[in-house]
């Protein structure tokens, strides 16, 4: 096998290696005359990345025989690519014969230096294959990496897992008593409930997919998926470097999610490389706490998707976990289309300063948000409800109504947007368990 590449292809290649190195340790290489494929699987077997290159990605692409495969350590490839790309004229990769024990990576630099690395390779690698058909996923969204990074910036940087809750966006403003339109997607930090000393920042972020995502498709009941943040960020960096949007496909808790760069109109057919990242998701749905979808052991066997990392007994997350520490949760709103209580974690400021320039409509909302926060009257909240912005429909519901709603949640007829998402317009600041003006979590917690 012999390859050679330079210029922009080399930059893309280096970006691929960087991303792969953030996912797994070993790189499985499979080459055939029609394509070159890189795969890696992380050690907990919860993340699988695959990148394929067409022959015309390379300056030279020669494969002898039908298929060549080997595996190398990603650390070694990263060592090769430590040399600044701007000083490299071209990179050549050579596997002299299919049973060779070392694969040679050669850098020819502009300044005349030539660096030849011989990296030990395993010629009988245990190559996993995981190919999921994107069309089988019922739900998906497309987002600009920069935007999703900005949303992730609201979460504690050490956050390990995140939950995305997707609901069906209503197109019409619904009856204020039962439905809420607009903020169809929630991002929520997932903190392992078995961790004893939990001093982490808990964050919930509701966003309007119409504003934050380039595309969004979800119908039916709300679903949630919980997966690793590290891998997500690695893939976002990768896509951002390639200047493409991220397409994320999902189904429901327990089913893997798939991410791919959105290349061109036909999703890959026009490009000479493609990448996918498959992440396992937690089996326990955050929406149906206390009611796991199926017994963990059985679920673990499905689709070769082992339970993501933390420990098999962590699944018994009860609803109580959310309700036990209501005041520890930070609740914020997306600045784009909502109002929100400032819980003083400083995130709001960041939201307002950076990122997209809010439209005048949004600026108005932010102003109203501050106003609402300051005043104790209800009138401002009502203003929001009746405001011209169709994205913002605070739910005016009594707390008394909650048990009903909860019952609905547990049953089959789920409301799309939990009423407790929204500030209760009827309540005074002093009322209730918490003195803070805040949004109740989804799902609701018990009143005491």
């Amino acid at each position: 096998m012999e390859l050679s590449l330079s210029g922009n292809a080399l930059k893309t290649f280096a970006r691929c290696i960087t991303c792969l190195a953030r996912i797994g340790n070993e790189l499985a290489i499979q080459a055939s005359p029609s394509q070159l494929a890189f795969h890696t699987l992380n050690s907990s077997r919860s993340a699988y990345q695959s990148i394929t290159f067409k022959p015309d990605f390379f300056d030279v692409f020669t494969i002898s025989g039908t298929q060549v495969q080997c595996s190398v350590l990603l650390k070694a490839i990263s060592a090769v690519l430590r040399t600044p790309l701007t000083s490299i004229d071209h990179l050549s990769v050579l596997l002299p014969d299919p049973d060779a024990s070392k694969v040679q990576w050669t850098l020819d630099c502009y300044n005349g230096m030539r660096k030849a690395y011989w990296i030990t390779c395993n010629i009988e690698p245990d190559i996993q294959h995981l190919s999921l058909d994107r069309r089988k996923f019922p739900s998906s969204f497309v987002v600009r990496p920069r935007d999703l990074n900005r949303l992730l910036g609201n979460f504690q940087s050490t956050l390990q897992e995140i939950t995305i809750i997707a609901t069906e966006p209503s197109s019409l403003p619904s009856d204020a008593a039962s439905e809420i339109g607009g903020k169809a997607v929630e991002l929520r930090s997932y903190i392992d409930p078995t961790k004893e000393n939990d001093s982490s920042l808990h964050t919930q972020l509701w966003i309007d997919p119409a504003e934050e995502f380039v595309q969004y498709a979800h119908v039916g009941d709300p679903v949630d998926v919980t997966f690793g943040v590290k891998e997500l960020k690695a893939f976002l960096s990768f896509c951002e470097g390639c200047e493409v949007d991220v397409h994320l496909y999902f189904e429901k808790a327990g089913e893997p999610i798939l991410m791919a760069p959105k290349l061109g109109v036909d999703d890959g057919s026009t490009s000479n490389f493609d990448a996918t990242l498959v992440l396992a998701t937690m089996l326990i749905s955050q929406l149906h706490e206390g009611n796991p979808m199926e017994p963990p052991a059985a679920a673990a066997m499905r689709h070769d998707q082992p339970f993501h990392g933390t420990g098999s007994q962590a699944q018994e997350r009860t609803r109580g976990n959310v309700s036990e520490y209501p005041s520890d949760h930070t609740r914020i709103w997306s600045d784009i289309s909502g109002s929100g209580a400032k819980s003083g974690n400083g995130v709001e400021e960041r939201h307002v300063e950076g990122g997209r320039n809010p439209t005048t409509k949004e600026l108005g909302e932010i102003q109203r948000m501050s106003t609402m926060h300051i005043s104790e009257g209800r009138s401002d909240v009502r203003n929001m409800a009746r405001g011209p912005n169709p994205n913002c429909h605070p739910m005016e519901t009594d707390r008394a109504r909650e048990p009903q709603e909860r019952a609905d949640m547990e049953g089959h007829g789920l409301s799309q947007h939990h009423p407790s998402n929204w500030v209760d317009a009827d309540e005074d600041d002093d009322e209730g368990d918490e003195a803070e003006l805040c949004v109740q979590s989804t799902p609701p917690y018990h009143e005491e």
Binding site: A76, K102, K115, Y117
Partner: protein, 304 residues
């Protein structure tokens, strides 16, 4: 014997330096460990500082008298003393103010054989330091570098490229083999550890990578990585910026000599003592020399 009427007259050496940062850069380039004992030798030609490790690696910094604004030498013979290199450099650093010309006076010996440093910048304030010195334990090992044969085996390579190559050669995790061969004229650095890395420098006329190359027969020697790494690990940024070259010479028995040039000249503010840059440049350079002993067993294909 000089009469000790006033201290400055009795001192072996009183010198003034107008660019402390340059001296810091020069001395930093021979730091490869946290604790290093240096031997300083004073003479009418200048100051030489020598550091050494386990009889395998030695470095010398030559600060000739022309680098100093004033160099008053009045010793009998050549005084030698030991001083902690880290302490000396860190102390000099406190006198160095970025962006300002910092002139200091160095005097030896003080009343208790100390090394005395004093700032001369300001009329209102003075920074003053004393550094304890020691009697050197042993005579500095004279590496007795001899040429390998009638023709030298040497090459001059861009310092930045040399540093880059040696940094890359950390990956194999092994000793480094340096090979010079006349046909085609090239220098090769190679490491064979858990992986292999070979870096080739070819002597083409049109690149400025290998500036000079002299070799009439193939030679190849191995050197411990950590010693080779010490020769470039703390090259000051000014060397890279000034696009300087480093000269490597292989002597008899495979002894490797690595020479760097570190600029001590002040980049900006003009001082009355400094003439136009062009004239003063040659003497505003400190010479750094490293000697690296080869590994004993490997001497493949070499003559004598």
């Amino acid at each position: 014997m000089s009469t000790s009427a006033t201290e400055p007259e009795a001192a072996d050496l009183v010198c003034q330096l107008d660019n402390v940062q340059g001296m810091v850069d020069a001395l930093t380039s021979v730091r490869w460990k946290r604790h290093q004992d240096a031997v300083v030798e004073l003479s009418e030609h200048g100051i030489v500082l020598i550091v050494e490790e386990s009889r395998c690696l030695q470095a010398k910094v030559y600060l000739q008298r022309e680098l100093f604004v004033r160099y008053g030498y009045s010793a009998q013979g050549r005084p030698r003393f030991g001083v902690s290199l880290g302490l000396f450099v860190d102390c000099l650093n406190t006198f160095s103010v970025p962006g300002h010309s910092s002139t200091i006076e160095i005097q030896y010996p003080g009343p208790d054989m100390q090394l005395l440093l004093k700032s001369l910048d300001s009329a209102n304030a003075c920074i003053y330091a004393e550094i304890r010195t020691r009697i050197p334990d042993m005579v500095s090992w004279d590496y007795n570098f001899e040429p390998a044969g009638s023709t030298p085996l040497s090459f001059t390579v861009k310092s930045s490229a040399l540093k880059e190559a040696i940094d890359d050669l950390e990956w194999p995790g092994s000793s480094i083999q340096i090979t010079l061969q006349p046909v085609p004229p090239s220098v090769t650095f190679r490491g064979d550890g858990h992986g292999n890395l070979q870096i080739d420098f070819k002597y083409y006329v049109n690149t400025d990578l290998l500036v000079a190359f002299h070799c009439d027969h193939q030679v190849s020697y191995r050197y411990k990585y950590k010693f080779l790494h010490a020769t470039t690990s703390n090259i000051p940024a000014s060397v890279i910026k000034d696009n300087r070259g480093s000269k490597l010479t292989i002597g008899r028995g495979g002894m490797l000599k690595v020479q760097h040039l570190v600029s001590v000249a002040r980049p900006s503010i003009s001082h009355s003592h400094v003439d136009s840059a062009g004239y003063q440049q040659p003497s505003r350079i400190a010479y750094i020399e490293f000697f690296v002993k080869p590994e004993e067993d490997e001497a493949t294909g070499n003559d004598s």
